[in-house]
Every structure is written in C-alpha cells, then in structure tokens.
C-alpha cells in the first residue's frame, strides 16, 4: 500500500471513518452523568478528574449541600453534592457514587471544585447547532445553571454551566 492510499484512509475532519471510534469533530465534547434518573452534562475540558466518593472533612456551619473538603494532591478541594444542591433524588453514598472534579478558569481566578453525582455515563460529541435553549419552566435547577439541552437518542441531556456551578454562595453564621 503506498502513501497515497494510506492517506485516503485517514478520516477528514467531521468524518466518522473508522467504525466504533469517534474522532473529535468540529463540535464540543461533553461528559454526561446521572443525577437520580436524569442526564446532565458538563464541558469535558473542565473535568480535572473523576474520583470515587470518600468522606470529606466537614466545613463548620456550611450549607448541607457542601459536604466538606478533600485533599487532591495537595490542593484543598471543596465537595458539593449536586443532588442536594438541586434537590434531585436522594443523597445516598454507594460504591458507584463518584465525584467529578471540575476546574474552571475565569478571568480573575481558577477554582477547582468536586461535585458528587450518582454515576458518570458517557462522552457526547455535540455540534454547536444541536444545543437547544432550555424552556424557562420551573424545575429544581435554576436557569442560570443551564446552558442548554441536547437530544441524545431517546433522552434529553441538560448541559450545565460550569462557571455558575463554581460560584459558591456566601454562607455565614446567622443566629
């Protein structure tokens, strides 16, 4: 086989040439995860790592959805339970419970926060045009956290805004 023929086998951008392998296409990739039975997704470039659940060190007088802090290679990382934060499902801690550690770089600072979810499911390739606006009807998750919706097979995946997730509400003792 000469070089020319080989070159033809290499898929061009946006083409899915080899079966079973998704090449990075012109869209973005999202990591999807489960909260109760619902599917959510975050930009995969923000994902620092996925760890199994371990009991964190409590932060005194913190809101209940902030489970505490853990040591991730010398960095103190706060842990937020998304199920409690959004009041979706039950906050049970099983063997499949995982923590997705997200790093978001804003203009002033870089924050790293871990989020407890029920399970990590998939990586989605999404063309920009496929993201649809979320209807502004109630729900537990505030509008500011939602970037849009994607249809994936039969299910609807909610894309979460990492920047907003990272914002920690001020909490203080109020007696």
């Amino acid at each position: 086989m000469n070089i020319q023929e080989m070159a033809q086998d290499i898929p061009a951008e946006g083409e899915h040439a080899i079966e079973g392998v998704d090449f990075i296409t012109s869209g973005d990739q999202y990591l999807t995860f489960l909260l109760a039975q619902e599917q959510y997704a975050v930009d995969i470039l923000c994902v620092e790592e996925i760890r199994s659940w371990e009991q964190p060190t409590k932060i005194p007088n913190a809101p209940s959805y902030i489970k505490g802090v853990i040591n991730m290679r010398g960095i103190i990382v706060p842990i937020v339970d998304l199920r409690l934060k959004f009041s979706i499902g039950e906050a049970t801690y099983l063997e499949t419970t995982v923590v997705i550690v997200l790093t978001y770089q804003s203009e002033e600072s870089t924050r790293t926060i871990g989020f407890v979810v029920d399970a990590v499911s998939d990586v989605l390739n999404v063309e920009n045009g496929d993201i649809k606006a979320a209807p502004a009807f109630g729900g537990c998750v505030g509008q500011q956290y939602i970037d849009g919706l994607i249809n994936s097979e039969q299910k609807v995946v909610t894309i979460l805004n990492v920047n907003h997730l990272q914002k920690v509400e001020k909490h203080r003792l109020h007696s």
Partner: protein
C-alpha cells in the same frame, strides 16, 4: 554577535525601581551642600538613564537626562540646592516611575504630567544656561527645517582605555546618513611624549541625516561621560526638508557658518522648545487620559504581585549546606535500608532524628528567604508624609523605628496599602494645624511614628500620632445618626473605635482629597483580616491615637495542637494556647443565667464547646472531666472544650479561599500525615463569633423570644 537584550529587561526594571527609591529617599534628606547624597542620587539617575538607553526606552532616557543635568549642576556646585528644586526633582522621580512603568507594561502614560514636569525642569535649567547643557537638553524638536547636525566630538584622552573605539561610533553615524569627518590634531603631543593607549584626537563631524537628535545622542550613549559632545543643527538652505540628496549644500557648510550657527539655532530652539509641552497639554483629552491612567494602575497592581526576591548570598549558602547534609543523611539511611537487621534499629532511629532536624532547618532557611526587612514597606512613607505636609499645610515629621524587623514577602506586599491609609488618616485627621497645636500646649510640629517589632509569633506594626485623638462622642453620635448603633446603647471604648471600621463611616467634618470619604478604613480592616491579622485602636482625646496592626510572621507554616471533636480533627495554633487541662467540676461556675465559667487561678474563663459552635454531633457533651484548651486572643481568654487532645505538629497552611471561601472561625486547612484534611481554628475569629452569638442570644431573650438557634443562611 547579537545578544537578546530583552532577557535583561526585568532586572533592569527592578534595579530602576530600586534606584528611584534611592533617589527619593536621598532627595528627602537632602541637606544643603551634602555632596555624598547628591552623588548617590546622581549615580542612581545615571544608571537608570544608561539602562533605559540600552533597552531603547527613549522617553525614559530623554527625561532622565534632564533630571541628570539638573543634578549635575548641583553636584558640581554650580547650583544651590533649593527646596524648590528638590520638589521638582521629587516630581521628576514620580514621572520617571510613570515612564518606566509604562515601558514595562507597554502602555500609555500620563503625558500631561510628564510634559509639565519636563517643562518645569527645562525652565529651571534655563535659568543658568551653559552652552553644553543647553544643546544637550533640547527636547527633540521636529526636524522640519533641520537637515543634519554638526557634531563636535572631543573625547577625553582615556576614552580608548574604556574599550570605546571612535571608529565604531563613526560607522554607526554613517549608517544614519552622509557623514563628513574632520579630525583635529592640535592636542597631539610631540612624538616622544605619545602614550600609545591615549587618544589625542578630536573630531568635527558633519552628518546629513533625517535622524532625530535623540538617535544621534544614543550612539554616543556609552561615551557620553568621557567626552565633550556638542550637537548643532544644520538648517536646510531652502524652506523645506528636501535637502538630503543635495550634496552641494553639505559641502557649502563650512567652518565660518558653523561658528555663527550655534547662537541663532539655539535661540530658535529655545523658542520652540517652550511650546511643545503646552500644545500637548491642549490636545490631550483629559478624561480619556484619566481612564488610561487608571487602567495602567490596576494593571500594574496585578503584575506587581509576582516579582522576584533578592536573596543574600549567605542565606543561599546556608541552604546549600543544609541540602548537603540532607543528602548525607539520605545516603546513610538508604545504605542502612539495603541490608537491615534488627540490631541496627538504633542507628535507624538516630538517622531519622537527623532527617527530622535537617528538614526542620531546611524549612526554616527556606522561610527566611521569603523574609524581608519591613523597611521595604516603610520606605515610601517619608515621601508620603512630606507630600501630605505640603498638601495639608501642617507641620509634621515621620519617625520610623524597627525597620529591620523581618516579615514575609507576601504579607509585606499586601500590608502596604492599608498602612498608607492609616498614615494618611493620621496626617489628615490626627495632626492639627500648628496654631491649634501651639494653643493646646503641644509642639507646633506634629509627629507620626511607625514602629515595627516582633511579639510572639506575630509582627506588630504601630502607627502613632500625637494629634487630636479620636473623639468618642462624635464617633458615637455619627454612628447613631447612621443607624449603626442604638441611641442608648452602652459601648466600651474599643467598641466605639471599632465603629471607625464600618463601611461608609467618616467623622471628618469635610471631605478632603486625602481622606474623609469614609471609604478606606473598612478596606483596611478587611485587608488586614485577610492576612490573618487584626487591628487595635487606642486613643486619648487631645493626646493622639495609636493603631496597632498585628500580623502573622508568615502565612505558610504554623505550630499546631491537634484536637478531636466528634469525628473531626481540628488544629489550634500553639501560640494562642495558654494551657490545656482537664475540667475540675468544683471550679465550674454558672453565672447570669446560662454562661459557664471556669475558674483558672484568678481568671474566670468562659467555656465554649466546639461542637456547639460548629454544630457537630459528638458523644462528649458532658462538661465534667472534659478537656479544656484555654486560648487567648485580643486579651480575652476562652476555654475551648474538646473531646481529645492529639499530637502537636507543624502544619503547612493551605488556603480555603482558593477554591472556596473564608469560613467563620476557620483560618485555613492543612493536610495531615495520613492525607486527610484538617481545619485550622481561627482563635480571634472564634472569640468574635462567640461574642456575637452571646449578644444575639441576649437580644433575642430580651425581646421575649425564647428560641435561640444558630441557623445557617445560604
């Protein structure tokens, strides 16, 4: 051979800023005729100029040259040192700083200010014109009617010894335009007297070029101090500048014309020269300009935080020694580990002990590298007070003590602004006008003193003034007016002074541009607290006020006592602990309803169970025989009830703020030996929290509401 100069720019900038500080402090204590000070100021200016020229910061070079010329006149005794000149020079230092900062950030600078100052400088210089200086200080005039320069270049005899070769200069000049050379050999001694290393020639050069004067002077940059250099512009023969190619006209310019030229051309330059700054003044749209400046300021701030430290060689040497020892210990241990037998266990323990010792020393030396004398932060205050004295028309002096006290670099960088605020306040609100002072039987000249010293593991910075003091009644009245306190509340002095740090609080009768807007003091307090420090105010009406800023020495490491509460481990800073004891039931007293006091010798210490404060679940809720850690902060003792006392160890402080936020009662977190995270208790914060809780509880009770709950607000 080409060297990438840009790699040296950071060190040039650093040296320049140091030079500027040197100039500033020199100027401030410039006594009449004090030659040594003038020399050092001059040297600083000169090296800034030289460096700026090398790196192509032309506006810095030009401006500094003016400054240098003025200083040169002072140095040579041609000019008396007057306070007016000192003021101008101080202003110039500011401008130089502006210019260098602009060069560093590659941004616009306050052209109006620089133009004004350089105009004033030129005017000052113009009072005593000397021909050489005059021709040199000319700011580049637009060369519309100048088609070249006649350059009189008379080098000192020793020029060649310093490694400068005139031929290089000439070839550089020739690159700018058409060069005609005429060597003057009249200094040439008799053949027998010639020293082969000396340079006896001087030259008269005629250069036809469109290049500016600055470009030509730049070529002579390196030899400028070792020669007499005179630049005389050649006017184009016709009305405009088309004359570069006209070789005929260049040949017509001969000696006779050159001799008449200087006076006329200099006159004309002088006429034009005064104007450019003024026209610039008109053109500059001031609002936009202000925007630019403020932009630059915020930007520089961000950048200034990452810098480099200069470390003494001795500190580095001791580090290297320690690392050497560490390597020896390591090799000893690994050798021991290769074939370990039980009888060698003693050697192993001693090896580990040595390792511990090495690590500790290494850690201390590394910390010491980050420590700088506080004079770095204090240096700017003489100038500040000097300026404030002029602005307010008050007489005051600054006394600085303990400037050798060492402080962590990060703390130092962040304490500067709060200190400036406090000193400004002292000057503006504290110190009274001389007449008032004299009437009150005080010396006419007010004194502001800055004092730094170590106290325990803290550094204390005191800002004292002998001014009017804080009027308790006015502060209180203002607070009532603003609705900060109840009209019939009874407050202690320190509570009243604390009101000063409330946002938007100012007692100044009128707002001045120095202070009084009520912004600031709250920021001061916040900044100090962010550093893990606190501020105390003391004041005597009519005698003066004193602000004490307590800061931790370093932000990185702390000696701590590990304690257990429920399932959690907490760390109490060892400095704060007075003693730890087991509660003796007989010494417990319950007073005023619900307060539990413990009699510790003569003191009654309130008992504060940590599990209550932090809403934790624990089995040890019984006070009898519980363990009590008595801690002290702000002169207040408090007993923290814990479940268990664990080890004492040094912990590395990690911020919670990086990824989370400041938590009340917690100063940070650390990672323990087993990799888990433990919270470090903030003792002053806890005392504050407890006081607040108690006060709230009291209020609720007096309101007739019996339920007191600590609830978390999201």
């Amino acid at each position: 051979m080409s060297v990438d100069l840009s790699q040296f720019i950071p060190s040039f900038l650093e040296e320049s800023f140091e030079g500027l500080e040197l100039m500033e402090s020199g100027l401030l204590d410039l006594q009449r005729g004090d030659n040594e000070t003038i020399h050092s100021i001059f040297r600083a200016a000169h090296s800034i100029k030289g460096g700026a020229g090398t790196f192509g910061f032309d506006n810095v070079t030009e401006f500094t040259h003016l400054v240098e010329t003025l200083l040169d006149e002072m140095r040579d005794g041609r000019r008396e040192v007057s306070s007016k000149d000192t003021e101008i020079l101080l202003e110039s230092v500011d401008c130089m700083r502006l210019l260098i900062e602009a060069a560093r950030d590659d941004e616009e600078y306050d052209q109006v200010k620089v133009a004004q100052t350089s105009k004033r400088l030129s005017e000052t210089l113009g009072n005593e014109p000397t021909s050489v200086d005059e021709s040199l200080i000319k700011v580049d005039v637009e060369a519309t009617n100048i088609c070249g320069y006649t350059i009189n270049f008379i080098p000192e005899h020793s020029l060649a010894k310093t490694g400068n070769d005139p031929i290089f200069l000439f070839s550089a000049l020739a690159e700018l335009g058409q060069l005609t050379l005429c060597a003057d050999t009249q200094d040439l001694p008799a053949l027998t007297d010639i020293d082969a290393q000396e340079l006896y020639l001087s030259w008269q050069l005629t250069l036809h070029t469109e290049a500016s004067k600055a470009e030509i002077i730049e070529i002579f940059e390196w030899v400028e101090d070792e020669c007499l250099l005179e630049l005389v512009p050649i006017k184009a023969p016709s009305n405009t500048s088309a004359s570069l190619s006209s070789t005929t006209s260049s040949s017509t310019i001969k000696n006779d014309e050159q001799q008449t030229e200087p006076e006329t051309s200099q006159k004309s330059i002088q006429d034009i020269e005064v104007q450019p700054p003024e026209t610039e003044l008109v053109i500059e749209p001031t609002i936009e300009d202000e925007n630019i400046i403020s932009k630059t300021k915020t930007k520089t701030k961000g950048k200034a935080e990452v810098g480099s430290i200069r470390v003494g060689v001795d500190k580095v040497d001791s580090l290297i020694n320690l690392v050497g020892e560490l390597v020896i210990t390591q090799s000893m241990l690994s050798e021991l580990g290769n074939d370990f037998e039980m009888e060698k266990v003693e050697r192993l323990t001693s090896g580990l002990e040595q390792l511990l010792q090495n690590t500790k020393e290494l850690q201390e030396s590394v910390m010491r590298i980050r420590m700088l004398p506080i004079s770095f932060a204090f240096n700017r205050f003489p100038r500040l007070v000097h300026d404030l004295a002029i602005k307010t028309g008050k007489e005051m002096e600054l006394v600085i003590k303990g400037e050798q006290t060492e402080l962590d670099k990060t703390v130092m960088e962040q304490i500067g602004d709060p200190l400036v605020h406090l000193v400004r306040n002292a000057a503006d609100h504290g110190i009274e006008q001389s007449a008032v002072r004299l009437a009150n039987g005080k010396p006419g000249k007010g004194t502001i003193s800055l004092d730094a010293y170590h106290q325990g593991g803290n550094i204390v910075i005191e800002i004292n003034d002998d001014g009017a003091g804080i009027n308790r009644e006015i502060v209180l009245a203002k607070a009532v007016e603003k609705g900060l306190v109840d009209a019939n509340a009874v407050l202690t002095d320190s509570q009243v002074y604390d009101l000063l740090f409330e946002p938007g609080f100012s007692t100044a009768a009128e707002v001045t541009d120095i202070s009084g807007r009520g912004v600031g003091m709250d920021v001061v307090k916040r900044n100090i607290q962010a550093l893990g420090g606190r501020i105390q105010v003391q004041s005597t009406l009519g005698k003066g006020s004193s602000f004490k800023v307590h800061l931790p020495l370093t932000l990185a490491i702390l000696d701590g006592q590990l304690v257990k509460v429920g399932t959690e481990t907490y760390i109490i800073p060892l400095i704060a602990i007075v003693e730890s004891l087991q509660i003796d039931n007989k010494l417990i007293n319950r007073v005023s309803g619900d307060m539990v006091l413990y009699r510790l010798r003569d003191d009654n210490v309130p008992i504060l169970p940590i599990y209550q404060l932090f809403n934790l679940a624990t089995e040890c809720t019984e006070i009898d025989n519980a363990l009590l850690v008595v801690v002290e902060a702000d002169g207040q003792k408090i007993g923290l009830m814990v479940d268990d006392l664990l080890a004492q160890q040094q912990v590395v402080i990690k911020s919670l703020k990086d990824n989370y936020q400041q938590v009340a009662g917690i100063s940070g977190a650390t990672i323990l030996g087993d990799g888990s995270v433990a919270m470090i208790l903030d003792i002053p914060g806890i005392i504050h929290m407890a006081l607040e809780q108690a006060q709230q509880a009291q209020r609720v009770k007096t309101d007739g509401n019996s339920s007191v709950t600590a609830e978390v607000c999201l």
